[in-house]
Subunit: 245 residues, 2 copies
DNA sequence: GAGTGAAACATGTATATACATGCCATGTCA
DNA sequence: TGACATGGCATGTATATACATGTTTCACTC
């Protein structure tokens, strides 16, 4: 009566698979109540701690909902909102097997930023920020215009970095341990400057990713990644129940 | 020598907090090796199972990396790739406090789909699919054009649904338990048809979200959500380390 | 009939124990 | 000096036991 698969995986994984199979087949419908831990102990022939671990992990993965003293229930599917992964352009190009090249357009300390930048950094008075503007090429075709404003209080030598390599990103990360990120994806027509730098027709569509990061309570970086719409898209594939191979 | 906070939270949570505090303060740097489980047992005065659970959960949350027989290490920050949440338009409008209205443009059973659709559904021969085209309005301004192809083998009465309410989505979800999703975000200029339905100038930028879902190994739905670039953007805010309240 | 208390049952946590599995350094033997 | 065996140590899993905590039910009392 074990009902557990006989592969080499650990017992608690088999219990998880058993539960997921019953959910997937529809035998245990949405919001249905599962057998109690003790029931599963008796029917599956494993200890309660093992069952408990399996159910606890399935709960933290969003498959189950547990209420102390009441029972375990099949969680409603989390399909309507799904996650999309955003990577950085250098790794992305490299993962595709393409050749990456970065062209530095601008690299400056801005002593008197615009009101919009001061506002974005949540400064209470005028403070200098570092500003970089880099074009990323994939196989010598421009794909991304990366504009970044950095808080010099957190990143001492940002402008001294080597902007053609990924080391800049790692330096940034080391200086600004991430506590919060804000993303905004939008589609806008290319302005004259963007069209020139990205070698695309003016007013053609761009996919723009805004990204703002915090370290503690202070704004660390404000980024704008502009992509040529006809050459770039953001994608992800997601398996809610499957495990990675 | 407990070094653990004295709040009311469970012991394993205190151990997790203790570890996170040491990482956050920089005392344990990136890739540094943590004390072994037995060391923590001795210094914190809890059992090894409790330490083990804390370290296991921190590993699954991405804070640590563990190698059997070797040790436990501080994981590199997972900042470069971040997640963006995509919701559905009806909830989104409602959450903003706006008024939602849906206009059904088309509702049909397609007996002979185009080659592109057959390919997208991974059909081995010509099979009928259901097709819907709906415009979503926020305060009577069109914001999204929703085109959906549905596999009738999985969703028996898709065309009979009430397309002006969110019940359609729930019916879809019930018929097609999600096993896999694929997303693709791109920016494209509006074509004549899209410009007309979305009441926007032709060739203006659109933010397009493609979404393809599987149930088991069969393709369940193929969706295209087209948004007016100047009226819509996708956003998210993310706290990597903080716990939900 | 309403309220109360206790039992029964559910999940949650903590521990001790045992063994499995994987890696590495050390030492021995050729 | 090199190859190999082995012991030590690290994490990984499984179990039995105990108690904590929260919910429901049901019988008993007023």
């Amino acid at each position: 009566m074990s009902a557990l698969s006989d592969s080499a995986s650990p017992l608690y994984e088999k219990v998880k698979d058993f539960v997921l199979a019953n959910i997937g087949s529809g035998k245990w419908a949405q919001n249905a109540r599962l057998p109690s831990e003790n029931d599963l102990v008796n029917s599956l022939g494993v200890s309660r701690m093992t069952v408990h671990r399996a159910l606890r992990e399935l709960t933290s993965e969003g498959h189950l909902r547990r209420v102390q003293g009441v029972g375990t229930f099949v969680a409603p599917p989390k399909a309507q909102s799904t996650l999309i992964e955003v990577s950085n352009i250098i790794n992305e190009i490299r993962d595709r097997g393409g050749k990456h090249r970065a062209g530095v357009i601008l690299l400056e300390r801005v002593e008197h930023p615009t009101a919009a930048i001061i506002d974005a950094f949540e400064f209470d008075r005028v403070k200098p920020v570092d500003h970089s503007l880099v074009v990323h090429f994939e196989n010598d075709v421009p794909v991304q215009l990366e504009e970044r404003y950095v808080n010099p209080a957190l990143v001492p030598h940002y402008l001294d970095q080597d902007f053609t390599s990924i080391a800049t990103l790692e330096y940034l990360q080391r200086c600004t341990p991430l506590t919060e990120v804000e993303h905004l994806i939008s589609a806008v027509p290319a302005g004259p400057e963007q069209a020139r730098l990205l070698q695309m027709p003016e007013r053609d569509s761009c996919l723009v990713l805004h990204r703002k990061t915090w370290t503690g309570a202070t704004v660390a970086t404000v980024n704008t990644f502009t992509h040529v719409g006809s050459r770039y898209s953001l994608g992800s594939r997601y398996r809610p129940t499957h495990k990675p191979a």
